[in-house]
Every structure is written in C-alpha cells, then in structure tokens.
Symmetry: C2
Subunit: 342 residues, 2 copies
C-alpha cells in the first residue's frame, strides 16, 4: 500500500485518503434496516441515548446499562512508525469513555480486543499499560480482553485494537438531546490534538520527519471526571454533550434533528494550522476536531461559567464558542470565512 | 504471507502454524499483574465467574452484569477464500454468547467491531446479516458497532471482526466452578465442526480444493437457549459449564484448580478425522474441540438425563462422556491411546 500512497498526490479530503464516508453512511443505513428486523420484546428496553454515542438498556432492577465500542483508526500505524506503543491504549479507552458520558453514563468496565500478526511481548505489554493508564483516568476497571495472533491476516508488525466499554446511567441522568433549544450555550472543551480521528488523511499531510509528526501521537483527552461533575452539578441546565470524533464538528448534529449551531472557530494549534494549509475549511471541520475535543451544551451563562470552572480545575481549557439555534446545520465563523456544515 | 506458507512443510502443531500459545500465556500473565495494580474500590465488585469466561460485576441495584469479548480468528480468511460472508457473524455472536452462559449469564446486548481495508457494501451487509442472525439465535439485541475502513492497515479484501457481549446474571445463578467435585458427570454437547478456533492450523492441513474445506465454514453452534433452560431447571445440580474454544478440552481446567477429568473421546466427524491424520492426539485435543462444542457438569445421572433431554429437544446431541475426579488434568481415552492434558 505504501508505494501506492507515495506515488499519489497529497490527498485533500478524507475520501481521497482512501476512506469513503458516504459509503460508510450507506452501510450504516443498511445495518439500521437489518437490526430493525430484530423485533424483540427487549428492544422496547432501549432508551434514546443522545446521538447514538452509546446504547442504553433499561433493566428490571431500574438500572440503565450503557455500552459502546470504538477503535483508534490508523493512529495505530503511527505507533509502529514512531515505535511508541505506551499511549495508544489511552486513546482506545478515551474513545469509548468519552462516548459513554455523552449519554450521561458513568464509565465502569472496559474490555479490549487486540489482534496482531506476531505477538511481541514488550510491545504488547506497552499497549496494555496504556489501556490500564486510560482506565485509571476514566475510573474504569479493565475486566477482560481478547488477544488474537493472526500471522496470515496481519503483517508481522501490524496490529489492531478495539475497545468495549460499559457504564451505568444514574436515575434522571440520561442525556437524550431532546431538551436542547435555541439559545443554549456551547462550551467547547479543548482537545489535546487530533485525538484518534482523521489519521488516514493527517498521516499523508504531515510528512515523516516533520517535527509535528510525533505530536500527532499525543493521547486523546479523557473528559470523564470533570464531565460527570458537570452532569451532577448542573442537572437540567446541562442539555447535551458531544464527543468530537470522526465527522468533526458535525458530531453536534447527532444530538437533535431539530436545531442548529452558530459557532466560532477555536484558536488553532500548530498541527491544525498545518492541516489547514492543505485542506479546505469545510472538509477540515467535518474531519478533525479542530481544537474542540468535547462540547457541552448548557442553558445559561451562569451554567456555562460553572462548567468552565469545573473543567479548568481538572486542567482543561474550556470556553463558550457559540450557541444552539433554531434551524439546522453548523455554522462556523473562521474569521476570514464562514462555513456551513450539515 | 501465502507464498511463505505454501513453501513450508505442513505444520503439525499450533506453534508451527505461527501461533505461539506459550508466549500468549506469558502475555496474559503480564496483563494480570498490570490490571492487579488498578486497585480501585470497585474491583471488590468483581465476582468470581467460572473460568474467566466473562467478567461479572455486581451493581448497587443487586443486578450482576457480565461482559466478554471475542473474535473469530483466522476463520475470517476462509470467508475471503470461499467468498462466503453470511455466516461468520453467527460465529462471532456464538463465541461471545457461549462464553457468557458459562458464568450463568443470560446474553442480552451485542456490539461488533468491524475493520476492513476497503468497505464493500454487499460483503459488509452479509457480515451484519450473519451477526443479526446470530443475535436472534442467542436472544440478544445488536445495539451498536464500529466500522473502520483502514486502507493502509488491511489489504483491500481483508477484514477483522470482534464482538462484545453483555448479559445479566440472575439471583443465585452465578456459576463459579467452586461446587465441582469428584464424581460429577460431564455432559458433552456436540459441536457443528471446528467452531471458530484452530483455523491457523486447520487451514494448512485441509488443502484448498478439498471437499472438507467448505465444511470448515459451518457456523459455531449457539447453546444459549437450551443451556439457560438447563441452568433454570437443574439449579444446584448443575455444577459447571465450559465453552470449548482455543485450548480445546483443556478449557475444562479453567473452571477449578482443584479437580481433574476422566473422559472418553467423541466419535469424530470427517473434518476431525482428517486433522487427526496430521496432528498428534495431545495437540489435537488442546487445539480443537474434537466434537465437544460445550460441556455441562452435573451432580447426578438423573441431572445428566434431564440436561441431555433439554439439549436434544433443541436439536443438539449430548451425551455423558466422563466425570470429574480428584486430582488435576484431563485424561482422554481415545480407544487406541489415552492422553493426558494439563
């Protein structure tokens, strides 16, 4: 594959980097129609967790169980290239834990799937050390995992990782996105970099040898602790939360079909500045988090201040970057230009 | 990789097929020492589910939540070779659901991770159709999943699948293996073939073009419904259950350090007969299920008859193949020879 890559022009979109989001969306549509056919009495137990970030299942005991799965995409390949395996496990946990909290769940249990071409004991141990570190940050227990050595499927140094997370949604804590309304403020919480999305494109735009290349490996922030505090303290003044993953700022649109957003761009770190030199703004904001790793929607300026304080005490910069509005789509004021995503 | 394979002698063990179980065991040891360090107050909530087949977590509501993850190994590569993608999803669900029931959990929720080099809509839809079919057989809801298109990690036609399952353990239903004792009977429930383990070796021993090759794809049996009935009807006369996966008949040893097993071999289907032509008996029984897909341990002959009846009504052949005994290891009477696994 790498020969083919280097002989090509630099891609300017996610599609050109070999990842077809439109086709993926079509596939998701088919999955939905298939799973719709699983008409079980149990499906009435599924609660409308915000944005499909996690499935939420109501049990007879009154407890709501949330679960989700995610991977770290081709950030994996950068680990191999830079021979650094101790933090990608943090990314893996972060991707799942940050999804769980979007439905109001407190993360509790984590399991990993680790597949490789050849089991290297030191590298594998580093991977697990990262997962354990991530679990501590997310207050989760690593309770299981599967290690698969498949020499005929993965090249010797290649591997893949998937994470599975279970959390519990307390009484009255479920976030559905249904209470979002015109005028709610959007508190953007800063990301640590690309997190774990957009790497098929980013790896091609930030060349090997660039000082920014190693920075791409910075692990994904884990927002669990401050966010759960916001959830507890703000109550119904918290109207939604979005983990900004693949799809960039369009993730906000997952929460409700009935509203749009008017936002201004965040200040860009050098990595995002570099990406912006190659990619059109609309593609940038629908692929990367562009500095906003997580978004929290609140009812009032006072609630925004409270949320910002809580995040600040946990070491996260947060700021009001705009508001929810009637209509649809995400409008982003980028200074010189304004873009609109839908 | 395939050139390398065909230029080699046929492997006669799992190690020679490129999979190093001893190294994997060493890795699991390291994981255990690492996760032991996650000394959280929450770890006291982990219950001793039998054999580590699934993690069991006690919640404040009194409900016990079980979860597990698994893949289908290199059976995947056979799907590509035979261009048949509609049943491997059944295997994926089966691998997880059959693990969950070993701790006494009723499977409820399933999520999949699907990674590929290039998203082919028809193939991907077949994969999901298989997963949905498996979920129906296991009475689970498919509640989520992650699809990752990673052209630089997977070859165009390659893909990997991982499954994640959540179940609930009813009051008094937890199976721990601690009540197993000398004289308990072992009811072996027939497998449908190799299920989803040992394919790195089996694909090399049963050559392309062999009429047995397509048979290798037969989906893994899902034992959920009859087993849950056995669990309900037998109560404390059911003393253990083991899903026979990677590790073959040594899976029985996962349940308790304090007992061994005296068993006789099952009648072998043509696929297992063929494998037996190439592989030493001890290696055979520690790699493949050799006809026993699932084992149920019961206190009495009457309980064994009841279990066999329940499985028979669900279409599964089951028979008493031996008993639990003081000591350790699995002794298997293979007719001409007796082997001992530990």
């Amino acid at each position: 594959m790498s020969e083919q890559e280097t002989s090509r022009e630099k891609p300017r979109s996610y599609l050109e980097s070999g990842v077809n989001i439109a086709l993926a969306d079509q596939f998701v549509g088919r999955i939905k129609s298939l799973t719709g056919l699983t008409s079980s009495k149990d499906s009435s137990r599924l609660l409308p967790g915000a944005g499909g970030y996690a499935a939420v299942y109501k049990t007879d005991s009154g407890l709501n169980v949330a679960c989700t799965t995610d991977g770290v995409g081709s950030k994996l390949l950068l680990c191999e290239e830079l021979n650094r395996f101790d933090t990608i496990g943090i990314d893996l946990v972060a991707m799942c834990a940050n999804d769980l909290i979007c439905v109001g769940a407190a993360p509790a249990l984590f399991l990993d799937y680790y597949a490789c071409g050849s089991l290297d004991l030191n590298r594998s141990t580093s991977l697990i050390e990262g997962i354990v570190a991530g679990c501590k940050l997310a207050d989760m227990l690593l309770v299981g995992g599967e290690t698969a050595e498949m020499p005929d499927l993965y090249q010797t140094n290649h591997f893949d990782l998937a994470g599975f997370a279970v959390g519990f949604v307390g009484e009255g804590k479920l976030l559905t996105g249904q209470s979002l309304r015109d005028g709610d403020l959007v508190v953007a919480v800063s990301s640590s970099g690309l997190h774990s999305n957009g790497f098929s494109l980013a790896r091609k735009l930030i060349p090997e040898g660039s000082p920014l290349r190693a920075e791409l490996l910075t692990p994904t922030e884990i927002y669990v602790r401050p966010f759960l505090q916001v959830l507890n303290e703000l109550g119904s003044d918290l109207t939604g939360a979005a983990n900004i993953t693949g799809g960039g700022w369009t993730n906000l649109l997952r929460l409700s079909k009935d509203c749009g957003y008017a936002l201004k761009a965040m200040e860009l770190s050098p990595v995002f500045e570099e990406l912006a030199r190659h990619v059109e703004p609309a593609e940038l904001y629908r692929t990367f988090n562009m500095g906003m790793g997580f978004a929290v929607m609140v009812r009032s300026a006072e609630a925004a201040r409270a949320a910002i304080d809580i995040f600040a005490r946990a070491g996260f910069a947060a700021s009001v970057q705009g508001h929810v509005k009637d209509g649809h789509g995400v409008e982003i004021d980028c200074g010189k230009t304004t873009i609109f995503l839908e």
